[in-house]
């Protein structure tokens, strides 16, 4: 009884802390609000959600059964199936789901103020994102680790399955292009950043040889060596940027960087993985976990004030200079990772379910790791909104609105309704060791300025330029890891797809197939990257919404599969736990698609832009609409015509895909609800577990206990 009482008191306190923090965020009237309120509002909300909602899903809805052997136990082969300690698996799963996404989206969405993004990140993860991850993980585990595509085919039907496959491949292409675009925008005209990122190549090669031949499997020592060399490379970049003879040689235009990235992506996909991909993977994982931990400590120690207002007018008028469109639906597709990310359903079905020891652990690994990623997104929004809003808009607004000089940018920012003087922009650039910070879109540079401010203020205001480039390097490094790995995954998917028609092509070790499939996938994302970098209307402004829509489309597939399985399990009463997020996700994605396709506002609608381009080309000079969008010449109209056609057709394709999957699933749902036919499920049969809750075999000495 005493124990129960204590527990009760603790949760009441947690709830009160959360309520007070949310209240402070919502009701604050001052110029600034302290980031601490945001931090603790998030933590208290997560704790309550994990303890109550996730537990409800685990016990009542999924009814996890720890006496049932998991595939890791039944099919243990010491390789892909193997019961893994839950804490270790949590780390692996988190490292696999947390990429650059949660760091980029929140920064872009901050143009609408700090509150819309924050609320969506926290509420979205609790009710949608973490639920999706946990249920997908559970259903895949009950099916011996089947992939999302396989589950869609088996539980919904061949049409839903095919739509899921096409969705995955097209998302991959857009995703890789957008991420590569972020790197290009962060490194162009920055000799420091370009040099230190280029140095990661020889470092990775060195690590690869070391791991393969000199000291096989000594991952920790080689990672320590790698990180030390990386820090040296950052110092080296500082020296390069100040040297009059080398700085020019390391200064690249965006198109040169596009070329370098495309060549790099192709080479990385073709080369054996141990040489480049695997060591880079280690390096970026350690950098990622280290930097995130440092950032959490930095924010907790400095508790910086947030300067961005709660809402800006762009939340309502849809005229935001970072990307166009109003709060609904565009906040919800701009912030995907951290709130609800369809991509996770690919990780949660596949690798992780084959390693789970006990069914009940899906709560910690599926729901818990996603909460952690959401926390990363919250830290990103804090880092971006602690900047002066004027500086934020000078960095993130579409570069064509800002002009080239600090004066023109300051003037443009005051046109947005914020004030910043040219002096501040120049001195901020100088403090981080860059020539200019104007129009550095893509989110990464803004986050890096925010992180460098926090880190350097922990250290008494020193070394901001070093920390800025540390942050740039860390983001670019793990974006490149995603580009490597994503290109490789895409290559395998193409080989698999063509292999259905022509068998030999599916052999991954066959060099011609490898080269052709790699070239296809690199060519596809390379095209979007090139188009994005040269887009007269701004690459981030045009491509990021498309990426968000694609990602949320995949979430719709995962939630549809989840709802279908819940109904088949006889849990119609609880099917709302995935059906409600699905309804929300479908509303958001379809509204966004609708606006992107049909909006007559040329700032938003692809086809409105296209019509303006066609009209200009016919008359031979730019019309008023394109002039208002800041197009400069008739060549721009050509590019706008091509880009908007491609983007518009893709938007239509994505919207159709969502509708097909949901309609096809609804057909299955109504069939089941009306009854008559016994639901067909492809769950693996029950078998008794011989492992205790710590993963040791019952009635046997624990493995390794005698050592």
């Amino acid at each position: 009884m005493g124990n129960n009482l204590r527990r009760y008191v603790i949760w009441v306190i947690v709830a009160l802390v959360g309520a007070v923090c949310w209240g402070m965020l919502a009701l604050s009237r001052g110029e600034t609000v302290n980031a601490g309120w945001l931090l603790f509002a998030a933590l208290a909300s997560y704790a309550i959600a994990y303890r109550f909602y996730a537990r409800f899903i685990q016990r009542r809805v999924l009814e996890t059964d720890d006496s049932r052997a998991t595939p890791a136990e039944r099919l243990n082969n010491g390789r892909d199936f193997e019961p893994m300690d839950r804490r270790v698996l949590f780390g692996h799963h988190f490292a696999a789901i947390a990429g650059a996404g949660p760091l980029v989206g929140p920064v872009l969405a901050a143009q609408m103020g700090f509150l819309p993004g924050t609320i969506w990140i926290i509420v979205g993860v609790i009710l949608a994102g973490a639920v999706q991850d946990m249920t997908t993980l559970f259903f895949s585990m009950r099916r011996d680790g089947k992939s999302l595509g396989q589950m869609a085919r088996e539980e919904i039907g061949p049409v839903g399955g095919a739509a899921a496959l096409i969705a995955v491949l097209s998302i991959m292409v857009i995703l890789l292009a957008v991420l590569a675009l972020v790197v290009v925008l962060a490194l162009s005209a920055s000799p420091w950043g370009s040099f230190s990122l280029a140095m990661t190549l020889p470092i990775a090669l060195l690590m690869g040889v070391y791991l393969r031949f000199l000291r096989p499997g000594r991952v920790l020592e080689v990672s320590i060596i790698g990180v030390a060399l990386l820090i040296l490379a950052i110092f080296g970049g500082g020296w390069i940027s100040e040297s009059s003879s080398y700085a020019g040689a390391w200064t690249f235009t965006p198109n040169q960087l596009v070329f370098a990235l495309v060549v790099y992506g192709f080479v990385a996909s073709v080369l054996p993985v141990w040489l480049l991909l695997a060591p880079r993977d280690y390096l970026s994982t350690f950098m990622k976990i280290g930097t995130i931990a440092l950032l959490a400590v930095g924010i907790a120690v400095t508790l910086p004030p947030i300067h961005m207002p709660k809402f800006t007018e762009f939340a309502f008028n849809g005229q935001g200079p970072v990307f166009a469109g109003a709060l609904f639906p565009f906040v919800f597709i701009t912030i995907a990772c951290g709130a609800l990310s369809g991509f996770h359903s690919l990780v949660a079905s596949g690798t992780t379910p084959k390693l789970i020891q006990k069914e009940s652990q899906v709560r910690m690994i599926g729901y818990g790791a996603m909460l952690m990623e959401s926390f990363v997104a919250v830290m990103a929004i804090i880092a971006a909104t602690t900047l002066d809003p004027g500086v934020y808009f000078a960095m993130n607004a579409n570069p064509i609105l800002l002009g080239d000089t600090a004066q023109s940018a300051a003037k443009a920012v005051s046109g947005f309704g914020f004030s910043v003087d040219a002096q501040t922009l120049t001195s901020t650039a100088k403090a981080v060791g860059e020539e200019s910070i104007i129009g550095r879109t893509g989110g990464a540079p803004t986050l890096a300025v925010g992180i460098s401010k926090i880190f350097s203020s922990v250290l008494g205001g020193t070394a901001q330029a070093f920390w800025y480039h540390f942050a740039i390097m860390f983001e670019a490094l793990f974006i490149l890891t995603t580009v490597d790995a994503g290109t490789r995954v895409g290559r395998f998917m193409i080989q698999d797809l063509v292999g259905n028609v022509w068998r030999p092509f599916a052999r991954t070790s066959w060099l011609p197939a490898n080269l052709v499939a790699s070239a296809l996938i690199v060519g596809a994302w390379g095209y979007f990257l090139y188009a994005g970098v040269n887009d007269p209307l701004g690459g981030i402004n045009q491509l990021f919404p498309l990426f968000g829509i694609a990602n949320q489309l995949l979430a719709a597939v995962a939630l549809t599969v989840g709802t279908t399985i819940l109904i088949k399990m006889g849990k119609l009463r609880y099917a709302w736990i995935t059906a409600l997020p699905l309804a929300w996700d479908a509303a958001v994605t379809l509204t966004a698609s609708w606006q992107k396709i049909f909006s007559s506002d040329p700032a938003i609608g692809f086809f409105a832009q296209r019509a303006a381009a066609v009209q200009s080309l016919e008359s031979g000079k730019l019309n008023d609409t394109l002039k208002a969008l800041k197009a400069e010449s008739i060549d721009d109209a050509h590019q706008i015509l091509v880009n908007t056609t491609v983007d518009g057709v893709l938007s239509i394709l994505f919207a159709l895909m969502i509708i097909i999957v949901i309609v096809d699933a609804a057909r299955v749902w109504f069939g089941l609800i009306r009854g008559g036919k016994e639901p067909e499920m492809s769950e693996a049969p029950w078998q008794e577990s011989r492992l205790d809750s710590e993963g040791n075999e019952i009635g046997r000495e624990p493995v390794g206990a005698g050592r």
């Binding site: 390789r79 695997a278 690919l346 990780v347 395998f492």
Partner: protein, 63 residues
């Protein structure tokens, strides 16, 4: 061990586990139990085989 050092020891063990550094040791234990008498792979062989296996069956990751 002194209680002050215990958290560090724990963190180190966790790092070894999560980085796959001690995967070979675990492989040896499992191998001895499941295939008694048969020769096991060397550390280098095991590591190379594991790495190739991992990247030839790629999963996905979040952006």
């Amino acid at each position: 061990m002194s209680p002050l050092l215990r958290p560090f020891r724990y963190a180190w063990e966790y790092l070894k586990e999560i980085s796959g550094e001690n995967a070979y040791d675990r492989y040896l234990t499992v191998h001895a139990a499941t295939h008694p008498g048969k020769p096991a792979m060397s550390r280098g062989e095991f590591y190379r085989w594991r790495q190739d296996d991992k990247y030839n069956n790629p999963g996905s990751r979040c952006p």
